[in-house]
């Protein structure tokens, strides 16, 4: 029996769902292994009968909370897909302003039409079995997870920082170029794609299990960042950690 798979989107850019549609090389093989029964971005049919639920996006409305709880009840395995779902991601930046202020900035006089709650990751609402962090999520990690599920194997995320993959990629460390980086405390798995492409790490995959935040802060300070800069940098994708503490 092929497992039934559903994709469900909450507040996000839908880039992670798009990544699934981007599996050109693997899509045909993948469809031999699983039945996709729910995927609003790509299909009309909907089914409430699924084994594996992929959740994309942060939770930002009361209605979203209820919908997510229903999905959790139905799915044997629930996977948070992408940084928004795993960490709240960039959506949580709005949590640092009052909701009134947000509404006024964006909707002006029409603010009263719209009601949202502070953004939160999926596991702030329901239990999550597996995480696929990344903005957007990493295709190889997605496929590895699907294979692991089918083989009855536990999928593990790397528990070491991005520096490992960055070094293996042979990059020049951005600190040597006068920039700063969250790589030393951010969970690897992205193959240091940002540094490899001339940027620095923004922490989109969240922190490793036991990050040495104090040391990272010291290093950032030594390289010219103020405490406020550092906070802003961490907030980019990991803002929820800060408010939930």
């Amino acid at each position: 029996m092929k497992p039934k798979v559903g994709f469900f989107d909450f507040t996000s850019c839908e880039g992670c769902q798009l990544e699934v549609l981007n599996f050109e090389g693997e899509l045909v093989e993948l469809l031999k292994l699983v039945d996709i029964v729910n995927f609003r971005e790509a299909m009309t049919e909907k089914s409430d009968n699924y084994d594996i639920a992929f959740i994309e996006g942060a939770i930002t409305t009361e209605a979203g909370i209820n919908r997510l709880k229903k999905i959790r009840e139905r799915a044997a395995v629930l996977i948070a897909m992408g940084t928004c779902a795993c960490l709240g991601g960039i959506n949580c930046l709005k949590n640092f302003r009052t909701m009134e202020e947000n509404l006024k900035i964006v909707y002006g006089d029409a603010a009263h039409y719209y009601n949202t709650i502070p953004a939160r990751p999926v596991d702030a609402v329901v239990a999550v079995d597996y995480y696929l962090p990344g903005c957007p999520m990493d295709k190889d990690e997605f496929i590895a997870l699907v294979k692991a599920l089918l083989l009855n194997k536990k999928a593990r995320l790397p528990n070491y920082p991005v520096c490992v993959e960055c070094k293996l990629a042979g990059n020049v460390c951005v600190f040597e170029k006068g920039e700063t980086c969250l790589g030393p405390v951010t969970r690897a798995g992205c193959k240091a794609i940002c540094v490899t492409n001339g940027r620095h790490c923004w922490g989109c995959r969240g922190l490793v299990d036991d990050p040495n935040i104090d040391s990272e802060k010291e290093i950032l300070q030594k390289h010219g960042l103020t405490t406020a800069d550092i906070l802003e940098r961490f907030r980019h994708f990991n803002g929820y950690l800060e408010v939930s503490k």
Binding site: L151, N152, K153, K154
Partner: protein, 281 residues
């Protein structure tokens, strides 16, 4: 580089073995019997281990549980704790796996000749010790006394019960058992395995103590052995480490300068002290 490596075969290629029987020991433990497809013997010593593979899942180290005196097949007793162990538990008779080994030094059974052997097992530590016990049983006249102290968490978690009962009644085997937490059915000793030491009398100069169990147990067992007067060179234990290659290359099992897979897994307490392998116990 004098050898011609290209003529050597891969270190990492397992031989194919078939599962010839599976027996459930307890809730999470099973005993597997294997035969090599090419009909060859494993050719091991008690206390050695193999690397067993389930392709697509992975490879892991498991002690050989059967005695080399058992001909043809060999046995592994495995507790399901993770990927490979669970995958193995899902296999049944007729399935094939990959086996590399035997690896490691094993128990120094030759040194035991004519000596008393005191075996102290904690939990599934009994699995590797079974190879030693049955080796002594099968070569009974070569050894002195065989004393087995076996501890389990609860009465329901006693491992290899049939085997324990067999040894219990066997001539020349002294078996004492205890459980950490008793229940109404359990009429025996209650307490950690070290409580059994007060029930035995040994001649320390003539005894080898061999213990396998969870690392936390070792400190206490060593203490009891020392109290009995057994010299540190004769207190032996098998160390568990993370292991990948089994052949002294990958570095995972290293404690200080020692590669456990090569120089162990069996070490005397004297060696552990000398090489400061303290993180092991």
């Amino acid at each position: 580089m004098t050898k011609h490596p290209s003529e050597e075969k891969s270190l990492y290629l397992p031989r194919v073995a078939e599962i010839t029987s599976v027996e459930t020991i307890a809730q999470k433990e099973k005993l597997f019997e294997f035969n090599f497809q090419d009909g060859k013997e494993l050719g091991h010593k008690p206390g050695q281990f193999v690397e067993i593979s389930i392709f697509g899942i992975g490879e892991m180290p498991i002690s050989i549980s059967s005695s080399p005196t058992k001909k043809g097949a060999f046995e592994l007793a495995v507790r399901a704790v993770g990927d490979v162990t669970n995958a193995l538990h899902r296999l049944s008779k007729g399935a094939t796996v990959g086996i590399r080994g035997p690896f490691g030094n094993g128990f120094p059974v030759d040194e035991f000749t004519g000596k008393d052997v005191l075996v102290i097992a904690g939990g599934i530590g009994l699995f590797p010790l079974r190879s030693l016990i049955n080796y002594v049983v099968d070569n009974r006249k070569n050894f002195g006394r065989l004393i087995i102290l076996s501890g389990s968490k609860t009465a329901n978690e006693r491992m290899l019960v049939n085997e324990l009962e067999r040894w219990q009644v066997m001539e020349g085997v002294e078996l004492l058992e205890t459980v950490d937490i008793g229940n109404e059915k359990w009429g025996g000793t209650i307490g950690p395995v070290t409580t059994l030491f007060s029930q035995i009398d040994i001649i320390p100069q003539n005894t080898f103590a061999v213990t396998v169990g969870p690392p936390v147990m070792y400190k206490f067992v060593i203490g009891e052995c020392q109290k009995k007067g057994i010299p540190d060179e004769r207190i032996l234990m098998s160390l568990e480490r993370r292991m990948k290659c089994g052949v002294g290359k990958c570095g995972h099992c290293q404690i200080n300068g020692v590669y456990v897979c090569q120089e162990g897994p069996v070490f005397s307490y004297a060696r552990i002290k000398k090489d400061k392998l303290t993180e092991a116990i």
